[in-house]
Amino acid sequence: MDLGNIESLAYSAPELLLGVAVVVVLMLDLFLKRKDVLGVITLFVIVFATLAAKLQGAGDQGWLFNRMLALDSFAVFFKVILGLAAFGTVWMSLSSKELENEHPGEYYVLVLACTLGMFYMASATNMLMAYLALEFVSQTSYILAGFLRGNRRSSEAALKYLIYGGVASGAMVYGMSLLFGLTGTLDYQMLGDQLTAAGGNGPIVFIATTLILAGFGYKIAMVPFHMWAPDVYEGAPLPITAFLAVGSKAAGMAMLLRFFYPGLSEFNGDGTWTAIEGVDWPSLVVLASMITMTMGNLAALRQDNIKRLLAYSSIAHAGYMLMGFVVLTDDGLKAILFYTVVYYLMNLGAFLVLLMVLNNSGREDLEGFRGLAWRGGALPAAAMAIFMFSLAGLPPFAGFIGKFYLFAAVVDKEMWLLAIVGGLNSVIALYYYARIVKAMYLENPVDGDPIMVADLPNSILVGVMVAGTVVFGVYWTPVINFAEQSIQFWGR
């Protein structure tokens, strides 16, 4: 199925829904007095968009908009995840005290727009479309990161993000231009065919690939393109941090996979892939993966700001996910997809608890968690502990299963060094995750630490995340099946 522009609209329900909602919410903002209604509307829109995206999974597959986008199970998978991430963000935003007086109308519009961009990122199969989607997401994110206008840190985060993002995407575009020059096409698949046909690709392809990797790598916070992440995560409003850590990263991962798998690799038909000749990106990424997880974990070790700690942790997790990326097998892809789901659950959960603490005490550092379990926050503390252990990859939580699949993929390929580095990193990671647990449980509250009062909406969502983390840690067949169905790239 290869559809033109008009026919494609029939298969763009989620995107259309989001696009219309952007306009509608912007309009409503002018009339409505009660701005929190906007948030609820946004929430519903996102729910419907996500459902629409999920329903696409059952339908046809093919090219949309003259091969600009692909409609395949892979796109559907990521759209669902991204929709859920947006859902969580909006849910958090509704109760966030940071965002209380900050132009909710524009805020939700931007969130919707950003989500729309991410949807496109998940399905773009053309370098131009990829660039547009990426910039769409980036530029809305810049604004969202700097949304707390009275807050210098927020503005600083926005500017750093912008400069960094600008350079990274600039490099990417430059790389794209080189590839375009070599192959004369912007379409991933044709590009791959051209390069394969040419054989013996020279250094230019490698340079181009590396530069493109910079653009994608910056989105998923891969070393050495990760340096914006901690600062931006720390400065941005918490729901946005969560959105960046979960949504943006997932979208970037989707784009990365789509570019490198159906684009720059050949499918061998037996569940394995081969990178096109002359462009040894796998070994480059192996190195990047090891360094990413190590740097992320080491830097997180002594971090006291939990937001920042989670930022470093998300860098490390990008490194773990890349383990699945470099093995060039379907198992690896499956592992990444699976990990994306559990990463969503546990990371968003952690941000939710952090938000509750932030709302309650105005603190987002380790001391804000001090003795949490002993001052009324037994349930949030328990949830946080579960998320932390899950992030550390301990059974019986979903995080372990996620790591398990990643390691399995790596071990299957007998990449022992990567496996061992990954393993050691899990140990290091446990230390700082356990610091939070320690603060909550092993330390006693100090006078002046407020009694923890958990608000209901956030508690509900936390509950859902906990349930997911625990249930998928014990019985994850549905998730892995979902992931398995979702590695079908249209056209390969």
């Binding site: 210098r152 600083e156 500017l159 912008l162 400069i163 600008g166 350079v167 794209m176 096409t185 400065g235």
Partner: protein, 104 residues
């Protein structure tokens, strides 16, 4: 003489522009200057796209791409300037090196 101006010349110009852009973002301390560096990088890519489109690709994809890049560069500049402005209001400075409130 004009006939001898070929693809390579454009590419070299693009590369030089790219390097200038990089040099600019690396060394400028003024936020506006850094933003301009980013623009240079993007324009380097534009030149490449147009040149490739003209000389080798045989399609207008490159032109389209560069138009979009120009557009997005403008949008990015707008957002960038807005952010710089908001920072200037607070800090009375747009020196990026003084923007180190977030670190470690």
């Amino acid at each position: 003489m004009f006939e001898s101006v070929g693809l390579h010349h454009y590419l070299v110009v693009g590369l030089i522009l790219f390097c200038f852009g990089l040099f600019c973002v690396l060394t400028r301390r003024n936020a506006i200057g850094v933003l301009m560096g980013v623009e240079l990088i993007l324009n380097a890519a534009n030149i490449n796209f147009i040149a490739f489109s003209r000389y080798s690709a045989g399609s207008y994809d490159g032109h389209v791409f560069s138009i979009f890049v120009i557009m997005l560069a403008a949008a990015e500049a707008a957002i960038g300037l807005a952010i710089v402005l908001s920072i200037y209001r607070r800090a009375k400075s747009i020196d990026v090196n003084e923007l180190q409130g977030l670190h470690w």
